[in-house]
Symmetry: C2
Subunit: 445 residues, 2 copies
């Protein structure tokens, strides 16, 4: 039974475990160390704050330190940073950032929920004040200020992934001129080309300048230097993804894996006895390819942390892995994916067939029916679904969940055609686009 | 190999097979007999025509006789009714309704897609002209005329199921006064009480008069007689469901099952060699209870007919069964269900736990987030999901498909919690309501 658990990191990866541990171990001491000011906030909500759909940064705070103290009796220590872990002595070295002092804290169980750090490539001028991340609540406040300032009219977004796309929409909503710079041939590089190109076109229709196959070389005040010349900007946003924040784990001697993420087993145990990790700092496994991956998403962090908490509390739970399911909205366009893309399937050694269909979000004769495109990646020999992608109007993208469950269950496209899915004219045609896509894939095989 | 296939019935149950047969048997002769004027139309779309969302009855026609002739070389005979089947002689007796003559048509394979008939209880006055069904395109035209007439102001809907609910909304949209008469304690009797009551309240908020626990005794011109007195009405609509139209099959000596639906095996074969059935006229099997059921839905008809067509064409396909998945929209409220309700689970012999959660359609802080309620029925011993129900705002009900796949795959609520479902603030909280519901069920077990 756990005696004293120390949690490093006040966001989902660390804190979602707390209530589970408390349930299993009513008498355990739980200490949580957070170097920032906040626990549990929604970084994913920042674009909607910048775009003006949400008014107040406070709305993004899911649970405050006092909530954890009151509900789960967690000793939350804000502005306390874990600077080292001594595994032999079972102690964490903690820096109290407010009082500028250091102390050592014993543990029998340690949960690392240190999260991720936005990728900042080593480019000239990257530390100039006009170059920003989109990660912390401080970033959020700063970006909202920019969005409301008249003097700021040109924004350059580096990277055309989900975050780049969402923040580009947000600033466009505010009336600023936005340029997106992307290295790939289309935005959303985790999608197959036909869908990525469709989103690229939609961005251009919204007035966003999209520069493809361009590398950023560096920054000067008011200027972004690229392989295709200079771009003016009052504000630069980095949307280059998130790397695991695993320095503490590495220094403690824990085993690291893909992209230096902390290696964990299916119970979220690290390579050291009594040391656990969950969330953006740790590695996961792709359920289709079986390969280790780093997927820094809030959904995964919450699930892994819950599993870690159940196990630390003396229960039994396992985290099976991820599909890399993701969803985003770009103005009226919704996009989503799950499982493997065609390129990922090939890299994992699958012989696959890719099929694409165009359908509608509602019965074709309904006035609000909108176009919806579905792409499936299917193993040729078996007909097993390996991956799915959706781009379309309102109501299209959340259908990705139907595919996510089907992939998890190892279903073939023939089995998907036979699924008893819901139909009424305001929701789909009599064959849901999910099944229209599966029927097309059957033809291709 | 099939030589001459005769299809009885020009809607989904019969006609969806045609293209599959044509694929497998390029040289087969295919004759389709339809006693009405139309092939393949969307009866489910009638409420949206009556409500004015769709302008023209023609929009509900999915495929015309000529489409089947051109695309699949089907000899479609409109206004030809199959009046008897002589199994020994392998002949159908056909009545040409236009020319008022009868002829015999040989077959080696016969597909019965005779559909369903709206339930019309044997009540005094049920044949009065102001009492209508909501099934055929002729019904549709007639109802639209009523909806637009100034003289018609009071409509009584008998039965608070999906059709009753949808047609009540449609007439309310047109500004008519609508009364719904329901025998049960709440509308949507296939739902558990908490959700059925919520929909009942929503109907009343829209100004619809809902009379519960009332039986209709009969009709007089302008009056509906009930166990709680008389109701005035210029128009009465029967929303009492659909029974299998199996008289032809019964007279031919085919085996009938539940509610006199034609018994078929998983390849859609009836009890007679070379005779197949699909759609509303035939029986199906519930995937959770294993029991025979009659589920007259367009989705099921299309799937069964596809399976019959593949098999008739010399291929191999099976129809596994149904979950009774259904979805509907009532003004801003969406409702859906799949699998077993609490009462159905009990009748099937399951020891189950029912849990209910309230969540939101988007992240709670998003301005368009709407309430969403999810009810789960879970087998106590195993944690296996048996059924799910949803009532909520825009974007809530199609999530039933996620549960439908999970039930089909035999997943437990613990497995559902671990699913990699899509999350971004415009689509859900970090735990999708599907998973919030699964977590609550885990607590209850």
């Amino acid at each position: 039974v756990v005696d004293r658990l120390v949690i490093v990191g006040g966001d989902a990866g660390g804190m979602a475990a707390a209530s589970q541990v408390r349930k299993g171990a009513p008498d355990a001491e739980i200490v949580a160390l957070e170097r920032g000011h906040w626990t549990s906030y929604s970084a994913c909500g920042i674009p909607y704050l910048v775009g003006g759909e949400i008014d107040d940064v406070e709305q993004l705070i899911a649970r405050r330190p006092q909530d954890f103290r009151d509900r789960d009796r967690v000793d939350v220590r804000i502005r306390h940073e874990a600077v080292a872990v001594d595994l032999a002595a079972r102690k964490v070295e903690v820096r109290d950032l407010e009082r500028d002092r250091t102390y050592r804290l014993g543990f029998d169980h340690l949960l690392l929920g240190t999260g991720g750090v936005p990728v900042r490539p080593n480019l000239a001028g990257i530390d100039l004040p006009f170059v920003h991340g989109v990660q912390t609540l401080d970033d959020a406040v700063h970006l909202v200020k920019h969005a409301q300032e008249v003097s700021c009219s040109r924004v350059v977004v580096v990277g055309g992934g989900y975050i780049g796309l969402e923040i580009a929409e947000a600033f466009t909503r505010r009336g600023l001129h936005v340029t997106v710079v992307e290295r790939n041939q289309y935005v959303l590089g985790l999608f197959d080309a036909p869908l990525g190109q469709r989103v690229t076109q939609a961005m251009r229709r919204e007035g966003i300048e999209v520069h493809l196959q361009v590398d950023v070389l560096g920054f000067r005040d008011g200027v972004v230097l690229t392989t295709q010349g200079e771009l003016e900007a009052e504000l630069v946003l980095l949307g280059l993804g998130v790397a695991p924040n695993s320095a503490l784990a590495r220094d403690a001697g824990l085993r690291l894996g893909v992209r230096d993420a902390v290696v964990v087993d299916r119970r979220q145990r690290t390579s050291a006895e009594g040391v656990w990790a969950a969330g953006d700092c740790c590695q996961s496994r792709n359920l289709v390819s079986g390969e280790p991956v780093h997927v820094p998403l809030g959904t995964v962090a919450n699930k892994q942390s819950r599993v870690a908490g159940i196990n630390i509390g003396g229960g039994y739970a396992t985290f099976p892995g991820v599909l890399g399911t993701a969803i985003s909205r770009f103005c009226a366009l919704e996009v989503a994916r799950t499982g493997l893309s065609t390129a990922e399937a090939a890299r994992a050694g699958f012989e696959s067939v890719t099929s694409v269909i165009d359908s509608t979000t509602q019965a074709g004769y309904m006035p609000d029916a909108e176009p919806m495109t579905v792409l499936l990646v299917v193993e040729r020999r078996t007909g097993r679904l390996l991956g799915a992608q959706i781009v379309g109007g309102a109501g299209s993208a959340k259908r990705i969940d139907t595919f996510a469950v089907a992939i998890t269950a190892g279903m073939t496209v023939e089995q998907i055609v036979q699924l008893d899915l819901a139909y009424a004219p305001p929701f789909s045609g009599v064959w849901d686009p999910v099944q229209v896509a599966a029927r097309e894939a059957i033809k291709q095989i």
